[in-house]
Symmetry: C2
Subunit: 253 residues, 2 copies
DNA sequence: TAGCTTGTTCTGAAAGAGTGAACGATCGTT
DNA sequence: AACGATCGTTCACTCTTTCAGAACAAGCTA
């Protein structure tokens, strides 16, 4: 996507304001005006306009993200064919493993969490539906990239790099390509505390009829919650099994 | 919320554009320009700006709602304490009944679907997470209103009226108040094709410690799918049971 | 009470959103 | 194959309208 030739600055500013509110978990007019480069009267006008349509909620001089965004967000998700195909199986996997199960898709070279199901024993993380993450530092992202053409992976790395998130993140290009090759063989990926310290995940790609990935599913759990045996023997099979069911649903129905 | 004294028109226009795209299930520049009162070059500028941040997706000269809205929408939902408390139980109810289960909250006098779980046999409806509906024409809305003070109900009716959605919608004010009184006694509400022809629902309120409703759960099914016996005997108990579990989770944890 | 915040209102002035025409591309039709 | 229609995109000018800044009310803290 080329840069807009004639961007509408007001729209950018509004989106910025909304994103700041999300980041701060609710904020007041002055607080927002400090972060975005416009005066507080202007911020006030934006917020009133957004509040009118319930895109923000005002609670005691604090503004919060409004539920009107849910309509658009849920709609956007429902539009993706993979969501419908995957949801039931993701729920089931969460139920069986008791862990946190995630579904991720790619958008413009980054990963976006599309759906999340929490088992009874699920770890609490910073991930939420709609959040975007670097693809290279998660099992989900690696599983997804492994089933994309090499040139596409190169493009994505060119654009976003391989920034380190923890000491375990793979930051070397060749090492990363080797990792992807291995994932292609196993049809599952493992993340050893590569994005978050103390967390490891197993992920499997969900591919279309041409074996190109359209999404990935993962189970995430704290390093010390599951012993290695179960982590390496049991989880990969379960995750691949779920991915398989989703693929069938996605490709043949 | 008072009318904004100094609305930011550009923001209104952008939101209008986005809402049109949603309504039309994707649209082109000219198509949008026809509906919103600005030229197509202006619409084009808006869309490019939104696309830059993934708030809209461009696919072959058609623009669609982007996944960036999911981040905000899911975030807004996660902020509501009722969501966390209810989600697991709503899933369970859907699993047990095989039907469509909905969770609704009130916002500015209208109902907003907060969460939805589909059982194996769930009916396909026009409802989706984030959608807003009139409160008076659904079992969910009636259950919710029944546990609000009378003056609050009056205010809401003053603002939104009791418009007929089908031939069965209650459109008379007194009749509606009587219906609410009955719901207060039973602690569950029934919707007899009042919003959609051929659909009936059973809903129960979820109340706080002062017995004021904060949300409602419902099971929805086609009129001819379930015989009257099961509909009237089995469902109310199940739905009230689920509501009860959610209340405990909401109020005491 | 004074002194700091906060959100809100208002008007002028500078910014920029929108108009409308023109261009190039891609249709389906003649 | 050439046409006409319709699409998305670009551009420069103009007039709309956003924004800055000051002033005010309300709520704190000291």
């Amino acid at each position: 996507m080329a840069e807009p030739k004639h961007p509408v600055r007001t729209v950018d500013r509004t989106l910025e304001i909304v994103e700041i509110i999300q980041e701060l978990d609710g904020a007041g007019v002055s607080e927002i005006a400090d972060r975005v480069d416009i005066g507080k009267s202007a911020v006030h006008n934006h917020l009133q306009t957004l509040a009118e349509r319930d895109y923000v909620d005002k609670v005691d001089d604090e503004y919060h993200i409004g539920l009107s965004f849910l309509s658009l967000g849920a709609y956007a998700r429902n539009q993706t064919p993979i969501h419908d195909a995957a949801r039931a199986e993701v729920d089931k996997l969460a139920d069986e493993t008791d862990e946190l199960v995630n579904l991720l898709v790619e958008q413009n070279g980054k990963g976006v969490y599309l759906y999340q199901a929490k088992g009874d024993n699920a770890v609490e993380l910073d991930t939420y539906e709609g959040k975007d993450v670097h693809l290279h530092s998660t099992a989900l992202g690696k599983a997804l990239l492994a089933f994309r053409p090499t040139e596409e992976v190169d493009e994505i790395i060119d654009e976003h790099g391989l920034p380190a998130q923890t000491a375990h993140t793979i930051t070397d290009r060749e090492e990363f390509q080797a990792e992807l090759a291995e994932i292609r063989e196993n049809r599952y990926a493992v993340d050893h505390e590569e994005r978050i310290h103390g967390l490891r995940c197993v992920a499997a790609p969900i591919t279309d009829n041409e074996d190109r990935s359209v999404a990935a599913v993962s189970v995430a759990c704290p390093v010390h919650q599951l012993d290695d045996e179960r982590f390496y023997d049991e989880l990969p099979d379960r995750v691949r099994g779920a991915a398989n069911v989703i693929e069938l649903e996605y490709n043949y129905s």
